[in-house]
Amino acid sequence: MKLHEYQAKEIFSRYGIPTQRGIVVSWPEEVESLELRYPVVIKAQVLVGGRGKAGGIKLAADAAEARRHAQAILGMSIKGERVTRLLVAEAAQIEKEYYLAFTLDRMARRFVAIASEAGGIDIEEVARGSPERIVKHHVDPMLGFLPFHAREMASAVGLRGERVTAFAAIAAALYRLAVGEEAELAEINPLALADGTLLAVDAKLILDDSAAFRHGDRPLNEEMTELERAARDAGLSYVELDGELAIIGNGAGLVMSTLDVVAHFGGRPANFLDVGGGATTENMAAAMGIVLRKPGVRALFINIFGGITRCDDIARAVAASPPSVPVAVRLTGTNEEEGRRILQERGIRAFLDPEEAAREAVRLAGSTPWRS
């Protein structure tokens, strides 16, 4: 789960990472009465990247200007995400910008600390263009991230003297935060040198959803669409796409490949939906309810390879609440004969071959003619 900058900064303060003084607002009028030192910076709180380029970050010299900017940014759409909150923070006199993060290195199976003296810009661009400006340290989880690791990184990005200890303190705190809050990414970009001290001007946190059971106090965000949230509440994995052919399958890999097969035959999937292992009649009914609620859906393709999941359970769910659009069903595996019999009684043909079923589904959705 991605956090907003203001949510991440609240957590930063708990771990003693210095940030600018700032206040979150939702209405332009609120901006004028804030007890902040001008100039202030007004930042759209959105989860997508690139808000600066999209006009979502503005500097204001006084209250009137702040209100004008707030008026313009609130309600603005940045890459499809509507701005409903602003973070208003005291502007810092920045002398130099650094980069500091802890993130997962999947191939190394470890977290890696990354620092650079080229902060304030996209770190992936720095990594491509001038990798020598990036310092990395893979953290041994049995050892932890030790104070001397932090000091060596500070020294390697060109800091000296007291600034080494200041940087090392922030790096150590960020590591404690990454472990304590179970983050997949904890990033400060830029970590700015301003008025002689280091402070986190921006903050990015992605928390591990699988660890949520240990963190009852986590903030929520609004990244999901209404249907995506309904799916999550029903224990289903659902992603909205642009097409008109609704898709339900069991297993993430199988559903991904189903989308590919549908596209191969000229169809346009409306969604990704994985009912998961051991799907029951209830899961399946909930899944159909969700995918068919999306406007513009013209047909439904159900692709089930029964293992733990039983084909007869799936068929019973389809028979109990026949979909409002034409449906193509592919059923194979555990109890497939019974499943096919149940559907046939309802006049629904169940295919064995996934490609044959996909072609039929694409035809039903009436998309562009399929290639053979």
Binding site: R109, A211, S237, A252, G253, D260, G307
Partner: protein, 292 residues
């Protein structure tokens, strides 16, 4: 022969009294696996399908001589279960459990490396060596003994492709489900290296998906002199960036992890890449034909 597990493997099932574990331990026994012991702290002295249950792994190992562990323990306790198995150097340790926190997975993998233990998973369907042993949840009836190694990041898609191989009369040496999480123990390269040394395996089917760079690393391994023919399929060609497609690991971030990049790397390394899952069996047949 087979890789990782065979008829000599003595299996311990951690969390054997759970709903899924109880069901699947029966299926493993039916497959022919030598399931010798189970653990469930607090239920030592009982049994499941005639398999004795112990409170600790230490006791299970000393009483039965178990050599490998299959973990069904729920996510909050999965790390502790894995550390316990690794401490007693069971090998391999197969973690079926899904939703294991990533910081836990990192610690487990570091300890496993220090102990010299091979971990498969978490969030994986496990291993099956037809005619020998099964550890995990892959459906028994799909398999048939034969010359093709299968290694995959997904579950049901693997079943789909294994079933098609079996229908085409092509059996399998071992099927390895690596798991769909960002941090898993065994990698494609690890499995390829084992298949390369296995006298029985004449071709390998590699099933990848979007996210991360595991397929690119596999391609480098193939390019560096892996001589067994590889037929690959990569799921998620049409997946949009930034959205997790079911698996925690299946997300395209920026230019990283796209199916196109993975397919290009595999083709450049000399693998044959199927465009649809249904084409894999035919391509494997062709690859075996060339070799015969």
């Amino acid at each position: 022969m087979a890789i990782l597990i065979d008829a000599s493997t003595s299996v311990l099932i951690q969390g054997i009294t759970g709903y899924q574990a109880e069901f699947h331990s029966q299926r493993m026994l039916e497959f022919g696996a030598r399931v010798l012991a189970g653990t469930r702290p607090g239920k030592g002295g009982t049994s499941v399908h005639g398999v004795p249950v112990f409170d600790t792994v230490a006791e299970a190992v000393s009483e039965t001589g178990a050599t490998a562990s299959c973990i069904f323990v729920p996510a909050p306790a999965a790390k502790d279960a894995a550390m316990e198995a690794i401490a007693h150097r069971l090998d391999p340790v197969v973690i079926i459990t899904e939703h294991v926190p990533v910081h836990d997975a990192v610690t487990v993998m570091a300890y496993a490396r220090a102990q010299g233990v091979r971990v498969v998973g978490p969030n994986c369907p496990g291993l099956a060596s037809p005619g020998g042993c099964k550890m995990g949840i892959m459906p028994n009836h799909l398999f048939r003994e034969g010359p093709v190694g299968v290694v995959s990041r997904s579950g049901t898609l693997t079943y789909e492709i294994v079933a098609a191989l079996t229908r085409a009369g092509i059996g399998q040496s071992t099927a390895v489900g690596l798991g769909g999480d960002p941090v898993v123990g065994m990698s494609f390269e690890d499995a390829l290296a084992l298949f390369g040394e296995d006298g029985k395996t004449e071709a390998v089917v590699l099933i990848g998906e979007i996210g991360g760079s595991a397929e690119e690393a596999a391609a480098r391994h193939i390019a560096a002199g892996f001589s067994t023919p590889v037929v690959a399929y990569v799921a998620g060609r049409t997946a949009p960036p930034g959205k997790r497609m079911g698996h925690a690991g299946a997300v395209i971030s920026g230019s990283e992890g796209t199916a196109a990049g993975k397919i290009e790397a595999l083709i450049a390394a000399g693998a044959t890449v199927a465009e649809l899952p249904g084409q894999v069996a035919g391509l494997v047949k062709a690859a075996l034909g060339v070799r015969l």
